[in-house]
Symmetry: C2
Subunit: 290 residues, 2 copies
């Protein structure tokens, strides 16, 4: 049974009753839950004695109000989803509960927010980092779980935790995909049936980059060109970015001589989708002398 | 007996041994301790079962490297000072311990950092807020104590704690002054004997503002002019700012119809001094009908 909490003070009462040996896992979400979140909840369940899922569509991370308004809200389904996965507490606060007064304090993770989505969504990661830090303070979890689909977000939260001396472990969980490769996302349900058929091209483009790197291609521009060719010629798809970045600092690489992350965003009709894959050069795949 | 700790992991070992009913007080300082810090430590001692004083000259809050280099470091005296006041632990980390890699994550408190010192020391309060948040995460204190002399800093830390849902109480402690009114400050020891004689003028100017407000003057420009006249005519003193701001948001007021903070910074020779006082209009000093 999951208990639904809407007030921070309700959680405080729960927290006061938890034993000192409790291991707390937090899965911060914006609701509209799917199997990608399911994997986060299951990993949390494996590691922790108490699992909290938060459901909060965070207004300060939306650069466009229309995107915030259109963001799917499916609370009843989400609570049922959490119950089915053995979540102990669902935290579903109002905007007023999270922001009782106008937020003046913001957290920024420089450099890591500079490229990829950060370059196209001004203030987005500032809003994410700020709400995540608020949730960390409210729940004081031992583990916080985030999906690798939002790789930049995951990297930023990991860096925030290290830079600010927070006492918790950030766990990244592998992207869950549909059978045709499309990464699970709340935004997928906005796609028309034709758009849904086209959407796996994003993953195909990334996998092409992965194969090129595995085959020894080291030039990012060449890889990018070949990957973008997969997205070209389909008027419904407009690539926003396609980049190869180093896995830690998320800076575009000049030459692929170490594992990199290929990350991309595309617009399909009015829906923006993101995805990323790890690309490993052959020298690292097969260490020499073995 | 105060125990000196230089590593975060040393503190972690101490923290693990503290009972659940321990009430922890943190007094963050940059060392060079004086009776102003003494008042903070005594207030911490009154409220808490365990008192930690941190001594760390925080490089990321200095807008000028020369100011950082010149900042007085008197560690042996500081430890003796803490011992004499019953501090339990002195935390005195290296720069490497606090910043093992280049800091990428920064906390900013908008609006409250905009005026007063914030307008003249770019990045200063960002550096303060960031290191204070790191210390809060390291120590997880129940109380953190800051002096009212640094009123803008105190206001920013209070707001940060509220905005980020931190579970601790920020306590402001009244400014401690020399007998001639000069606010205690580590920077006072840089003053030449002639500068030291002139320094109380800063407090006199603020007290003049306080008296004008108490006498019914409501025009900030008029108050400012009269206060600045006290600083004028002394070539060694160069005012940096003199403002009347609302006590919460630290925005300059247009009319003094509620309690305000008069705050000022002056340069005396090569030394920058700040101070502030509360100014209360007469209608509030003597409520009508009483």
């Amino acid at each position: 049974m999951s208990t639904v909490l809407t007030r921070i003070e309700d959680w405080n009462a729960v927290a006061a009753s938890l034993g000192r040996d409790c291991v707390l896992g937090l899965v911060p979400t914006m609701g509209s839950l799917h199997e990608g979140h399911g994997a986060l909840l299951e990993e949390a369940r494996r590691r922790c004695s108490v699992v909290v899922a938060s459901i909060f569509v965070n207004p300060i991370q939306f650069d466009q109000r229309s995107d915030y308004d259109r963001y799917a809200r499916t609370l009843e389904d989400d609570v049922a989803f959490c119950k089915a996965r053995g979540v102990d507490y669902v935290f579903e606060p109002s905007e007023r509960e999270m922001y009782p007064e106008r937020q003046r304090t913001f957290v920024e993770v420089e450099e890591l927010s500079q490229h990829l989505c950060g370059a196209h969504r001004p203030g987005h990661f500032r809003g994410v980092a700020t709400v995540v830090l608020k949730l960390f303070h409210i729940f004081q979890p031992h583990f916080a779980l985030f999906g690798e689909k939002d790789y930049q977000q995951l990297s930023i939260v990991k860096r925030l935790v290290r830079d600010l001396n927070l006492r918790l472990e950030v766990v990244g969980v592998a992207t869950v995909r549909e059978s045709d490769g499309l990464a699970m996302s709340s935004r997928n349900r906005r796609l028309s049936s034709r758009e849904r058929l086209l959407a796996p091209r994003l993953h195909q483009a990334l996998m092409a980059a992965r194969e090129l790197v595995a085959g020894g291609e080291t030039c990012p521009a060449a890889i990018r060109e070949r990957a973008l060719a997969i997205l070209a010629g389909v008027p419904e798809i407009r690539p926003e970015y396609f980049d190869l970045v180093d896995a830690e600092g998320l800076q575009p690489v000049r030459v692929v001589d170490a594992p990199v992350r290929a990350a991309a965003a595309v617009w399909i009709g009015n829906t923006r989708l993101i995805d990323n894959v790890l690309c490993v050069p052959p020298a690292i795949t097969k260490p020499q002398g073995k």
